[in-house]
Symmetry: C2
């Protein structure tokens, strides 16, 4: 039933050459005469030869496999990141191994070990924790590492992150052009992202010489419910804000729900820091996604590829600012179950 795969020796025999020569033709890294090359290639196609990457990898010590460890692909944020990584790796001939950590330390560690055991070439990691030891192990066992989204103190790793403060400032400034009464629904001040985004919100205000009404600055917990309740309280104010800058996607969804429930006669303009799934914008016309998640993934993959090419490279930190174009490449025109995706504002 499962016929044994043709192997390199078979090709060699048929072409009347040594295995080494076949290997050389396949890899194209050593001089081979045109005629033998042709004979080998014919033999290979005749036999439908496909190289055993595993064996090749064992010898050359790489696998062309890259691990991606994220809390949860089901989060639209990471879904897009993963696609960005995958599309980039694909053209470079790498395959992606997906791992969901559920923000769980143990799972994360377990995966990292598994990935190293499998001799993966590298890993893109959205760290659940700030546990550096684990990462050092990974690197020690030969994995190239790129961090995304969350930074790890010490800065010894390639990192791709978002320009929290700057982007927050720009997004808020956009709202301020329409009105001075702009609110902020933010995450907990215990997280660096929330602090930075709030700072950007303030920056935008000071550069137009306005001090925001403290009542309009709500700190909640980065959850859907938090966003919902915050939105509700804003809508119930005597003078509701005319624009709201919301600190992450989950809270933005909660805010949308509140909006749907309340149906205010004049709805405030909403800006979400993170992108919402493409179709969310169809529900409340003014919703805006800001964070170029897909590109974040792309960039992470590119960094990893660079490090693979030159392991002694200085670690760099790439800061992605809000989208200025650069669409997703393999964009699918819709089909049975295809989805079209938002174009950023």
């Amino acid at each position: 039933m499962t016929a044994p795969r043709t192997k390199l020796v078979d090709v060699a025999r048929r072409a009347g050459v040594s295995p080494a020569t076949v290997s050389r033709v396949l890899n194209g890294n050593a001089p081979v005469s045109v005629s033998t090359r042709a004979r080998v290639q014919n033999a290979a196609t005749d036999l439908g030869y496909r190289r055993n990457t595993l064996a090749s990898g064992l010898r050359r010590s790489f696998t062309r496999l890259i691990g991606v460890v994220v809390p949860d692909v089901a989060n639209p944020f990471y879904t897009e990141v993963v696609r960005g990584i995958e599309d980039t790796l694909r053209v470079a001939g790498y395959l992606l191994v997906l791992c969901n950590s559920d923000d769980n330390q143990e799972k994360e560690t377990e995966y990292l070990e598994l990935l190293a055991d499998q001799q993966l070439d590298g890993v893109v990691l959205a760290p659940a924790s700030t546990d550096v030891a684990k990462l050092e192990d990974a690197v020690a066992s030969g994995l190239a590492v790129v961090l995304i989204d969350r930074r790890i103190p010490g800065g010894a790793y390639d990192t791709v992150r978002v320009a929290n403060r700057d982007d927050a400032r720009i997004l808020t400034a956009g709202l301020l052009t329409a009105s001075r009464r702009v609110a902020h629904i933010g995450g907990p001040h215990t997280t660096s992202t929330a602090v930075e985004r709030l700072a950007g919100f303030m920056d935008a205000h000071s550069s137009v010489g306005v001090y925001p009404d403290p009542e309009l600055i709500i700190e909640t917990d980065y959850t859907e419910l938090g966003g919902h309740d915050a939105m509700k309280s804003l809508l119930e104010m005597e003078t509701p804000p005319s624009g709201i800058f919301i600190g992450n996607n989950v809270m933005a969804l909660g805010a949308l729900r509140a909006l749907a429930e309340e149906q205010p006669s004049t709805a405030p303009a909403l800006v979400s820091f993170d992108p919402l799934p493409w179709w969310a914008s169809s529900l409340h016309p003014v919703t805006v996604g800001a964070q170029p998640t897909y590109q974040l993934g792309q960039k992470a993959a590119e960094l990893l590829l660079l490090r693979l090419a030159d392991p002694s490279r200085e670690p760099t930190e790439v800061v992605i600012t809000h989208d200025r174009g650069g669409a997703r490449s393999g964009d699918s025109t819709s089909s049975t179950s295809g989805l079209r995706r938002e174009r950023d504002a």
Copy 2:
């Protein structure tokens, strides 16, 4: 910098035994005396030994890697399927290689070949096409195959699919209990799924002795725009339907958008065949997701594992009916970027 990994021989030397013995201890498949076993285990932990899965795989000819080829993980339908697969594979010690085909034949084929080259053990495939030859190649090169979502004529493969007709009937029946005026926004009659779902819609009607108004049955193209336009036309009717059964998730989102635009005084109850992302239900309270996507993934992974264990097994077709419980296992309580997920109605 990158210290060479400890290998099996090192452990053997330190324990004062032969490599063969170490291997036996590691695999636990051959008799080893208790005392040597202990010595080997100590040596292994002392040295922090981790097996090179690649080398082991080359020898034993398996990789514990499973490919998953779907049109697009960014589609909430597949996102959940992938999580279902991943969670199941994880506990069995397998890793998941993610491939997005974008419903593109070439990409799909390319991936299938790559996966075979990498000697993956198996693949879960949501086929973009009905090209059987390609699948036969895959199987011939030793891949175990499980099909999901879309069926391939001939039935020679393990398949997990959804009870299109039955579920459509049940969902429609639900709407019919509230009112006799129920509409259907369906996909193209060229697809088996659309035909089956329409049949279920009709079944529900005949069992209550009602023949649906032909005007209420709209065939469109499984796209967001199609759903939007269909919804709009339904809302503009003199007597709009009081319930609508919508054939897939993308069209349901379009319908939601139309609803948001039109803001009718009395909104019809909506039922979407596919699940929407968890938060969509917050936008229009009556939205219902039906297809237990996560479980579909779980089941597919289980089937694959079974086939791996016994390759000569008869191919089976598993039909999943709409959710009757069975929550996702690794469900994360929300966190910085975690999302809570919908509970099915």
